[in-house]
Amino acid sequence: MTYIGQGLGEAVRLLLQLDPAVLKVAWLTLQVSGLAALISVVLGVPLGCALATRRFRGRGALVSFVNVGMGMPPVVVGLLVSLLLWRYGPLGDWQLLYTPWAMVIAQVLIAAPIVASLSFSAIVSLDERLPLQLLALGASRLQADRLLIKEAKLGLLAAVIAGFGRAVSEVGASMMVGGNLKDETRVLTTATVLEVGKGNYELAISFGLILLVLVYLVVAVLTVLQQAGKRGCS
């Protein structure tokens, strides 16, 4: 059990000393997962909103597809992105495999369906006559969509939290498409896996602890925003 105590102590020491190697990994993690979460929100929220408010041919199939995407195994996503970005793959010319961009693409494919599905749920949980009422008040389609998104902000922030959480905790696909290259594609999750494999539990614990703190801080900010919105509702 002493190694756990030693690990925690080492983690605290690394954090307090602002170890450059650790900070670099943490910063890359924040960049990759933050960007992936942002892209997932930009794609997922409008998609979820459109699925909830529009009626078109194939809508049911698209809803099912998004829901399937929520449960997509990360290794399958990793395999798919690897095949696409592999040197001789359809997107091989872009030379993105084993770069942070490949990790962003993989994390977007994993997080965007979650954001879309939860956004869809957040919008459809509003009164089904609200879109009609907004149009009747003189809203254009775009104005009505904007107001619906504003009205469903509590649920949508939950979708953003879930999307970021899924992206930042992802390890399998990131390992496959990023390669866990030191100073290039090593993020907190892949670094933790690597250090555990090498038996460096102290370092693994410190990476794990930083990951927890990072997730806590981001989610805390989003939760504060969410609760502020909730207070506005009462």
């Binding site: 009422q133 149009l135 008040l137 003189g138 506005g232 009462s234």
Partner: protein
């Protein structure tokens, strides 16, 4: 010539494969007040949404003020008031200001109009209150203020007060009717309460199964119901098939009860027709107070209490009748009583669609 406020021509609204509204023609003048009455699922709300250009039509055309080219601009000349008043999160003031901000009107001009709309419905003291903390009556007042803040030319009222008690409903409707008349608005009121609709409107449109079955003034609809559905909606308690007997001098009510044809209003041109009369037209227990024809003896099957006197369900010679029990009269279920019909109150149901659309 002034364009009609609303014109529907060959309009069909479908939900999947099912047609939920089919209106061949409906034209409403500017400033006219129309009540839309029909049973549940008749397409009343769909008709209002179609008039307000709020849903796609599968066929036909809706024209407002003679135009149909710019749906958003036309839609913004209308206001729809729904039953529960759906609001966005925020204060009364914010919700009432919303239709103005959607039209790009903000600042002092918007604030002035919001203030006027709130004062119109005595809501000034509630302006800062979150809408979620309003009572049912207050919510409906805010709903109306929000609808009228943009000075709409067409007001669509979809059972706006049905969640309120009768006293509050009547009071708000009177207030609203006065505003509509003062501003010369074209108004449509959907209501389950025929009397309320009849009081409010100059014209009554009767809907059943997505089609207009009759439209006209109160006197036309009540005096000459065109089919059984209309007669039921108008509130006739008794609908009976009548047959002219072979001697041409006797009419068999419910195909069984003989009544002298001369005692009934003219109109039984065919050999068989439906007649309609209210429970008030059937007199029991006492000697008739006005010209009545005797229907024989009836057996009281059931007594249903009511504010305006109990409704008595009778079996009169094998024909089911409903009569209103006058106050002070006592009858028990199973009792036998003489039954008279105030024959002047009987109306013939024309059965066709003549006059409808």
């Amino acid at each position: 010539m002034m364009a009609k406020a609303v014109e529907l021509a060959g309009v069909r609204v479908a939900r999947g494969e099912r047609t939920v509204l089919a209106v061949e023609a409906l034209a409403v003048e500017q400033g006219e007040m129309v009540a839309v009455v029909g049973p549940n699922g008749a397409g009343k709300s769909t008709l209002l949404a179609a008039i307000g250009l709020l849903l796609p039509v599968a066929a036909g055309q809706v024209r407002l003020f003679g135009e149909h080219d710019d749906p958003l601009a036309l839609r913004r000349r209308c206001a729809l008031v729904l039953q529960d008043g759906l609001f966005l999160t925020g204060s009364v003031r914010q919700n009432v200001a919303l239709p103005l901000s959607l039209r790009g009107l903000r600042g002092a001009a918007a604030a002035r109009k919001v203030g006027q709309a709130l004062e119109l419905f005595n809501l000034g003291h509630l302006a800062a209150r979150p809408v979620q903390r309003l009572s049912g009556g207050e919510r409906q007042r805010v709903n109306l203020a929000r609808a009228l803040v943009t000075d709409p030319e067409i007001l669509l009222l979809d059972e706006p007060f049905s969640s309120l008690d009768k006293s509050a409903r009547t009071h708000l409707l009177q207030e609203l009717a006065a505003i509509i008349r003062q501003r010369g608005l074209t108004a449509f009121l959907v209501s389950h309460h025929f009397e309320e609709a009849a009081w409010f409107a100059e014209r009554i449109v009767m809907l059943a199964e997505g089609r207009i079955v009759q439209q006209g003034t109160l006197a036309e609809v009540v005096g000459q119901p065109l089919n059984e559905a209309v007669a039921r909606l108008v509130g006739y308690d008794n609908l009976l098939a009548c047959t002219l007997a072979a001697d041409k001098k006797t009419v068999l009510l419910g195909d069984k009860l003989p009544v002298a044809a001369a005692a009934l209003p003219d109109g039984l041109a065919a050999d068989r027709r439906i007649c309609a009369f209210g429970a008030e037209a059937v007199q029991i227990g006492l000697l008739p107070s006005s010209a009545c024809c005797a229907l024989g003896e009836g057996v009281v099957k059931k007594i249903v209490p009511g504010i305006h006197g109990a409704i008595v369900q009778l079996d009169c010679g094998g024909v089911g009748l409903k009569a209103r029990l006058s106050s002070g009269t006592r009858l028990d279920e199973g009792a036998k009583t003489p039954v008279w019909l105030q024959s002047g109150a009987l109306r013939w149901v024309y059965g066709g669609t003549k006059g409808a659309e």
